[in-house]
């Protein structure tokens, strides 16, 4: 073995030892696992998927044709092999609802969901940080108790119920914001990225931008409230715990101003558990988006997914679930990066 070979192999070893490389490789394996899982469940569980999909009144020869199309007449590993082959060729199979390739559908519908989730995250971070800080700064004050009650409500009320309440109150009763859709009738934006707010800005259409924002508020608020409540509660608890730690008292002992102590030395360590919990909150948000998009008639991936589920559109279901799984994996890697940015102990351990 030459010297060069040794160095490349140790370099490779080093790359493989990297926490994130390992995490990404593991995620890829897991995504394959998910696809096998969904695939298996879809075909092993009782009932004839083709019959279920087409309904009891479809003629037998049409059902038979569909069965052939999905290769349901072949053993499951053969089906999976062909599906995988398709995936590597950039096809996810035909959708029963749109009669297009599932990937085409996904590309069309995903921007609306991305926009909704990003807006939700912005509201979530602002809300959780400000509520957590306000109540953590003055524990047991009136405002802290108000936040605590809000936190209980936020956790106990599911986001689809929030969606109904907010829609009813803010849109129908008070008429402050639009109740459905992404844009008002008569306003149009040329599609560039598919994110309407971004496209409106790129077109220089500020009216459309403002309109898109007003449409985003209620859906993303209904998605964010649960996470805000959860994270604000954790941030508050950690702030109250950390403010009595010796490393904070030490700063008081040196006459460092209160605001620096609170917003620098107490807030940063308190944010670590809060950011960590965001992985779980992200999972709920991605799940709840399915219901919220349905309620607000939001033309996104999740509503497409629900339609597919109600119509037993197997290829579309597998496609959507896989994309959501991928999105969740990426989100959790980003959150991991954030945690390690905040916490040097984690950074050096990785």
């Amino acid at each position: 073995m030459t010297v060069e070979n040794v160095t490349t192999s140790t370099r490779l070893q080093k790359i493989l030892d990297n926490y994130y490389v390992r995490k990404i490789l593991l995620s890829i394996v897991t995504l394959f696992g998910i696809s096998i899982l969904i695939f298996t469940i879809a075909r092993v569980l009782p009932g004839d998927p083709a019959r279920l999909a087409l309904g009891p009144r479809a003629p037998e020869d049409v059902v038979e044709q569909y069965r052939k199309l999905l290769r349901l007449d072949q053993p499951i590993y053969v089906q999976y092999f062909y599906w995988l082959l398709d995936v590597f060729n950039g096809r996810f199979g035909l959708s029963l609802v749109t009669f297009r390739d599932v990937l085409t559908d996904i590309i069309e519908f995903i921007p609306a969901t991305v926009e909704l989730i990003i807006f939700t995250l912005i509201i979530d971070v602002i809300g959780a940080l400000s509520l957590g800080v306000i109540s953590g700064r003055k524990p047991n004050s009136i405002i802290d108790n108000a936040v605590r009650i809000f936190a209980y409500a936020g956790i106990a009320i599911p986001s689809f119920v929030w969606a109904i309440i907010l829609q009813l109150v803010l849109a129908n009763w008070l008429d402050l914001l639009p109740a459905y859709g992404r844009l008002s009738l008569g306003i149009e934006v040329n599609r560039i990225t598919g994110l309407i707010t971004v496209d409106a800005l790129l077109n220089g259409n500020l009216v459309a931008f403002a309109d898109a924002i007003t449409h985003l508020i209620i859906p993303s608020l209904s998605l964010a409230i649960g996470s805000i409540a959860q994270e604000a509660r954790i941030l508050r608890a950690n702030l109250i715990e950390n403010i009595n730690k010796d490393y904070i008292l030490n700063m008081y002992a040196h006459g460092i101003p209160n605001s620096i102590i609170f917003f620098k030395y107490a807030l940063k360590p308190s944010m670590i558990p809060t950011v960590t919990i965001m992985t779980l909150d992200m999972a709920s948000t991605l799940g709840n988006a399915f219901l919220v998009e349905l309620i607000f008639n939001w033309p996104g991936l999740s509503r497409y997914g629900i339609t597919a589920m109600l119509r037993k559109d197997l290829n579309a279901i597998v496609g959507v679930v896989l994309v959501i799984g991928l999105a969740y994996t990426i989100a959790s890697i980003i959150i991991d990066l954030l945690v390690s940015y905040l916490d040097p102990r984690v950074r050096y351990k990785r």
Binding site: N244, M251, I256, P257, Y265
Partner: protein
Amino acid sequence: MLLEINDLHVYYKSYWYILKVLNGVWLRVDKGERVGIIGESGSGKTTLLKSILKILPQNGIIPRGEIRYDGKNILKLGDNELTKIRRKEIGIIFQDPMAALNPVFTIREQLYDIIKHKMMIEGHNPSSRELHEQAVKILNDVRLPDPERVLESYPFQLSGGMRQRVMIAMALISAEKLLLADEPTTNLDVTIQDQILKLIHKLVIEKNLSTILVSHALGMVYQMTDRVFVLYAGDIMEEAGTNELFNHPKHPYTQLLISSTPRLSSVGVGEGIKGKIPDYRNPPPGCRFAPRCPYVMDKCINMKPGKIQVNKDHVVSCHLYD
């Protein structure tokens, strides 16, 4: 007189109960004097030191008492004056440097803030170069090798001894008059304990600082202090010059404490004192040592003993000397 504490009470409130920790403590420190406080863990030594700087945890309250520093009552001082004292007159070394250094900031960030705010109160806003020079100088003062690397490190990347040196460096920035040291060697290896003690001793002499050294390591207190206070369960039991106290302890608690420390006692082996520190939720109404005292009398149970001057430089709080 630099520091004089009278009748200091400190309570901790929790949701369920109140812990009555300090129960009328007195203390005095002359200029240039090195004072020791001894007693078992849980006697309220740390609480006493923290109240001097008014840095008790948020559930700590001071219902009664005064802490007179340089003639002014610290407990009634305005924010500006208190800040000035905290920034450049009194410094504190915490017991556990791992807990007292912020885990998610480098030593540089923490040290810079401390130096910067001290210089700002002196009317000077330092540049980052000045900050760096000062930081390196102060780390050199505590004999830390490779200060540049230490500055870039997070607390968990340093050894226990190095962390304690950083802690001492921080304390020295603020301690131009009085240094409070809370068991500065508890969490260290024996060999390093000795180095740290010698370092503190040397720096105190060099800078002519008044010192309060809190410890349950009696040998260390014996070597390093001029006068000793014995604290038990939030009460001062005895006060005397160091030699006087170790050679002629009057209070039963002091006697037991000294005889239970093997290296100091002339008789017997260290066996500890029977019993436990009382429950602060519901402490004994009279002498707090009564439940463990071998010479307990009826009046000890219900009546708290006063200060009794047994000779010129020796005060004891015990009914045996009434």
